[in-house]
Amino acid sequence: MQQVFAIARQAIRGAIRSRVFVSILALLFLVLIGLPLIIKGDGTAAGHARILLRYSLGLATLLLAVATVWSACAAISREIEERRLLLVVCKPVARFRIWLGKWVGIVTVAAVLTAIAGLLAYGQLLWAMRSTRLTEPERATLRRDVLVAMQIVRPAPRAPQKTVVVAPGQMGRWVFQIPGAAGRERRVALRFRLASSTQRQNAALRGTWLIGAPAAAARHRYAEPVVPGVHQIKIPHNAIPPDGALAVEYANLDDSATAVFAAADGVELLVEHGGFLMNYVRALCMMFLQLALLAAFGLLAGSLLSLPVAAFVSFVAMALLAAQGYVRTVAARGLHAMGMPGEAGPRLLDYFVAGVFNVLNLFVQPLAEFRPLEAVAEGRLVSWGLLGQAALVLILLYAGILALLSAWLFGRREIGLAA
């Protein structure tokens, strides 16, 4: 391991002394402190906090991702081009250890920068919370809506989940099992994403939600008309049965419009689970794991390709990861999803595009669960279990496969060839 750590230490020294570290640090300060001062939200404290978490921290993450990918691509490809690697590979160090050392060095720098970005964003949040301009109700709203960790509970049984279509005059029903001690004084809310068959713009649908124990006579009732989109209903404690089994029913009282609730996030429960800080730390850890995977990908590309080509390929991979939903849609629907003029039947090109995107989707699909930034901005729980799952999938599985592939390909590469 002495050799691996020596290479890692050299990579860290390189990052710090080549001023990459300082430059990224300066940009992080600019993005995380300067940006919230420029961007105006909806004027509320909660809105300001969401901007900070979603946009400032999001931009900082993008910056870190780009810097990590670039550093990883350069770590091997530039050293081959500038022939510095000649003096490393002619030493008694296996190629895999060289790769591992570079990866450890890059992810160490990424970890430090992620921690700094996280601290800056959290400091901003605390500063916003303690601002004298905030009224007590505003602070309460901030704590309740943003600075929380809400666990998402999906309808039972979990599989198979189906899109629920509720025609006028009909009723949809979902049953949930709230985990843990249901009787505890925890906040529970129902969140639903309503889609409608109506062609009228912003037309509200009339309907009634009934929430309570499956066999209870008296249930919590919510009967406000709602427009298509995402909505949240607070569920009072007395509506939650002690065993945690909760039935949710939706009666479509509209004259003509059909209500549609998608399988993925049509109807779900949000259950308060722990504090914001630990959730935030776990989200940062997950972001770091994603950076570590990007570093592995950048190193693989850099050990095979020249720096510009490696960087291009890596950024395309990053874009595909960022556009997971789009990849899924095109995989399912072919070119029609791209807004191409449709024909009567699917064309050959549709099959080809769908095939390519289906293959891409195979790799992208397992990563769909890991969206820490979105979770923390929406106050959703990033559980230890999910973090462990992320470590398993992102590092052990994906980065592990990339490492083995790199070791095999890098080991076969002739480093002595002129660049």
Binding site: Q10, R13, G14, R84, C90, I415, G416
Partner: protein, 348 residues
């Protein structure tokens, strides 16, 4: 009875470097053959020998060296280094390599550079520290140990490059243009060092254009042209005029010299002379290359010409004194200790 050392075991088995019918073809993006840089060469270098690889630019010297180091893989043939395959990790633990340019990390200090390469050889902390001190002393850069390598002159970079090549106390040292960029004192130091290493049973392979240096220090040489070995053998054998001999005599007076010469001429005829000329290596090298050029008109290396661009020609014939700048103080040689002692203090 003492246990045989690794060198003795290796020496009993096979030479330090064994190259059999090795060919290296560089290919283009579509995998089509582009250049045959090395073309079926055979080499055997025994332990303790200083071997010189000569040839004009593009003749395949550096490619051969990279093949020996496992930095390139042969297209055909077989290479064995110190009893193992060239690309074997354990082989590399016993090799020191100085490339033609100093490919060092510019943001590391002189000491950090040697620390880094020492760690790659998995040297223990104490051994590493001790050797770094000795090497810095040897190359005359002890005072600059905390300076960034990026601030060094070319000569200083060569010195630090040489130090990293010797930090593992290698059994085989491969030096590509070791004296390039060095001042005359540095050149002399390196030559002395190479002879010292050979005296200690180390094998040294040198690539160089500086024929006088090669002639000074090499036991055997091979001259490459267009990827083939055109001449190979002991330096003395190759350079000796076969049809003449030289009689060594103490300083004689004019009268004594005339009498001796007359006596010799009585026996051998008028052919006997007092001085016996000897071809120098440079002349021999050029003859070999010129002959090779006649047979191989098409080759991938540099085409030799004898014309100099006008703007580079010396207008008044005044030569600059290249020995004027001797800035680096002379330092004593302290070759590093044996690699086997490294493991005693264990890794850091």
């Amino acid at each position: 009875m003492d246990e045989p050392t690794p060198q003795q075991q290796d020496a009993a088995a096979e030479p330090a470097v064994s190259v059999r019918q090795v060919t290296k073809i560089f290919r283009d993006f579509w995998h089509r053959p582009k250049v045959r840089a090395v073309n079926g060469i055979d080499l055997e270098i025994p332990y303790g020998e200083v071997f010189g690889l000569l040839g004009p630019n593009g003749s395949g010297k550096t490619t051969t060296l990279k093949l020996l180091l496992g930095l390139l893989y042969p297209s055909a043939g077989r290479i064995r280094i110190l009893g193992r395959a060239a690309s074997h990790v354990r082989t590399k633990a016993r090799i020191g390599y100085l490339p033609e340019e100093s490919y060092l990390y510019r943001y590391l200090t002189c000491e950090e550079t040697l620390e880094f390469y020492g760690k790659l050889f998995a040297l223990g902390r104490a051994t590493r520290r001790d050797r770094i001190d000795q090497l810095l002393e040897m190359i005359g850069l002890r005072h600059a140990r905390h300076r960034l390598v990026g601030e060094f002159s070319k000569g200083m970079l060569r010195r630090i490059g040489l130090a990293q090549a010797l930090i593992n106390d290698p059994d085989l040292v491969l030096l590509d243009e070791p004296t390039a960029g060095l001042d005359p004192i540095g050149c002399r130091q390196i030559k002395d060092l190479i002879r010292t290493l050979a005296g200690r049973g180390k094998t040294v392979v040198i690539c160089s254009h500086l024929l006088a240096d090669i002639e000074d220090i090499c036991d055997r040489i091979a001259i490459l042209f267009n990827g083939r070995i055109r001449a190979e053998g002991r330096v003395d054998d190759l350079l000796q005029a076969k049809d003449r001999c030289k009689l060594g005599l103490p300083q004689l007076s004019g009268e004594m010299l005339s009498r001796v010469l007359a006596a010799v001429r009585r026996e051998l005829g008028e052919d006997a002379t007092v001085e016996y000329p000897r071809r120098d290596l440079e002349q021999f090298f050029l003859e070999v290359v010129r002959d090779a050029q006649k047979t191989d008109t098409e080759h991938s290396g540099v085409r030799q010409t004898e014309t100099l661009p006008a703007y580079l020609a010396d207008p008044d014939g005044v030569k600059e004194d290249v020995l004027a700048k001797l800035t680096v103080p002379r330092a004593t040689h302290r070759p590093a200790g044996r690699a086997e002692a490294d493991a005693k203090d264990g890794p850091e």
